[in-house]
């Protein structure tokens, strides 16, 4: 069985993101980039499936400009077997990403496809569900546990009320949540080995997909700033302020 993981290149979540003065977007020049943290969890899960013998091959796919090959290399260094780069400079929105991934999946025929529940740049949280819809597959979102069986999978999902376990048919699209696993760091020898692993290049045109954006970004502004308040010395003073000044208790 083959597992396909989608990996998105995003601004490193530890970087303080700045809005551009002309309101056209956020500053990306000379900013540290990283694999979307939820996709690291996806790569880790796929590798564990191979290590457990339930999967034979792990393929990492990324959509974007030339630099996303670095993100694919990171996946390969963690242990993925090969990469596919869908090369485009276009602004790829979730519906377009889902269409592009669908085209690759139709060629590759994986049984399990893993995406992040959310990319921490656009915070959209859509691509996995859209991909499952376009393929006509089952979907298992916000996964904190995946148990693969014969032609089916049991997936535990993090939902607002707690946890829910569902049974899905294979093939399935899974999206990862934070508690699914703790991703490994790539070791130096594995980083070296990854340099020799193949990355196949393709494009939206090759895949027959029109990735044109449907949403226009009008502007991006900074959120309203909150003023820091005061420090109080005692609990009695705090309770007094909450009762008589803020009037919230």
């Amino acid at each position: 069985m083959k597992v396909l993981v989608a990996v998105k290149r995003v601004i490193d979540p530890n970087v303080k993101v700045r809005v551009k003065a002309d309101e056209s977007g956020v500053e990306t020049a000379n900013v540290k980039m990283a694999m979307n943290p939820f996709d690291e969890i996806g790569v880790e899960e796929a590798i564990r499936m191979r290590e457990a013998g339930t999967a034979e091959e792990v393929v990492a796919v990324s959509i974007g400009a030339q630099q996303v090959q670095e993100t694919i290399r990171t996946a390969l260094a963690m242990g993925a077997d090969r990469g596919i780069h869908i090369n485009t400079d276009a602004d790829i929105q979730p519906l377009a990403a889902a269409k592009l991934l669908k085209a690759v999946i139709e060629k590759e025929q994986p049984q399990v496809v893993i995406l992040g529940k959310q990319a921490v740049d656009d915070d959209a949280g859509q691509t996995g569900q859209m991909l499952a819809a376009l393929l006509g597959w089952s979907q298992a979102t916000f996964a904190s546990k995946i148990a693969l069986g014969d032609g089916e999978a049991e997936v535990t999902r993090e939902i607002d009320g707690g946890l829910e376990t569902i049974k899905t048919q294979l093939p399935v699209v899974v999206t990862t949540d934070l508690r699914l696993n703790e991703p490994r760091y790539a070791s130096l020898p594995n980083i070296m080995k990854a340099k020799k692993k193949p990355i196949e290049e393709t494009s939206p045109a090759d895949l027959g997909v029109d990735p044109a954006p449907r949403l226009t970004l009008v502007k991006v502004v900074e959120p309203p700033k909150r003023q820091a308040g005061i420090k109080v010395e005692t609990v009695a003073e705090l309770v007094d302020k909450l009762k008589n000044e803020a009037k919230v208790i």
Binding site: V17, V26, V120, Q126, Q129, T141, L163, I166, A228
Partner: protein, 311 residues
């Protein structure tokens, strides 16, 4: 223009998130229809009919809708989509699961987690953990939106008298079935609708220590939340997590205890009216957003707070 709003419920109760989503629909303007998808959800439909501003309630009551399985619910939404210019749901785990699937089947690019309606086709939404507020304009014929409920006041749950109409099920897609749920049961209010929240972080050191926060919460009629670090460490269940990738809350009062205030946490609570921070590190970023801060050891401050509230 007619707008369809997917109701949030658990087959027994209409959840408050529905009311905020109705307000977002009102801001767009048009006839608002509430869709109740469930099993044995007659009581929810009755409550939905009373929501102020709702013109009609559509009810799809069938076994395949009992657990909000996305494949089934999305197919139903697609079957109803023709009559509507906008389809909205709360940005809850249920809305997030179902709506993008329906959007893709309709070849529409959803706009997630909207915080303001600028025009019928233009919306504001936070990006990068709320570090930017984007204004986006949709060129699609129909708009599929999920709504950040804390950004819209709740519509009144009383005063409406909408007609109720049963709609036909689109059947079981046969792809996914529900096995079991482990639902955190608590007498305390739900996090996303609580007026007061007491939240703990890694500084709590253990799950047992959260009992201290629970006692304070009970004195205040508050819900208990947590940082990701506290959830990852197993102190509390996943559904306590507040933040960019957890729950978004905006209570009247948020008391942050032993949590540093990472950007991902702030993304989930910085719209709270009043923020209190209790942390032993006076440099902790949480103090930059707190209205009132106490620099001190939580193991001294929390028992003292409980005692003070008992007076």
């Amino acid at each position: 223009m007619s707008i369809l709003v997917l109701a949030e419920h658990d087959n027994a109760e209409l959840k408050p998130a529905t009311l905020n989503t109705v307000t977002a629909a009102k801001a767009i303007g048009g006839d608002i229809h509430l869709l109740v998808v469930g099993e044995g959800c007659g009581g929810v439909a009755d409550a939905a009919a009373k929501v102020d501003g709702v013109a009609k309630v559509l009810v799809a009551d069938a076994p395949e809708y009992g657990h909000q399985i996305a494949e089934n619910a999305a197919n139903l939404i697609v079957s109803l989509a023709d009559g509507y210019s906008h389809i909205l749901a709360p940005h809850s785990t249920s809305g997030k699961n179902i709506m993008p699937r329906a959007a893709a089947l309709l070849d529409l690019q959803q706009v997630s987690d909207i915080t303001a309606v600028i025009a019928e086709d233009t919306f504001e939404r936070p990006i990068y953990a709320g570090n930017g507020i984007a204004t986006v304009k949709s060129g699609d014929a129909k708009k599929i939106l999920t709504v950040r409920t804390t950004a819209f006041e709740p519509a009144s749950g009383e005063g409406g008298s909408a007609a109720t109409e049963q709609v036909a099920s689109t059947g079981d897609a046969g792809l996914t079935s529900f096995l079991r749920a482990e639902v955190s049961s608590s007498e305390r209010p739900e996090l996303i609708s609580a007026k007061i929240i007491v939240s703990g972080g890694r500084g709590m050191q253990s799950g047992e220590n959260f009992a201290m926060l629970e006692r304070v919460a009970d004195k205040l009629g508050a819900a208990v939340g947590a940082s990701r670090a506290a959830v990852d460490a197993g102190f509390v269940p996943n559904d306590y997590q507040v933040g960019q990738t957890g729950k978004i809350v905006a209570p009247d009062l948020y008391i942050a205890v032993g949590l540093s205030g990472a950007i991902q946490h702030l993304a989930g609570m910085k719209d709270s009216k009043v923020i209190v921070a209790i942390n032993k590190d006076e440099e902790a970023p949480i103090f930059q957003v707190a209205d009132y801060g106490i620099v001190g050891d939580l193991f001294d401050v929390i028992p003292a707070l409980e005692a003070e509230l008992s007076k």
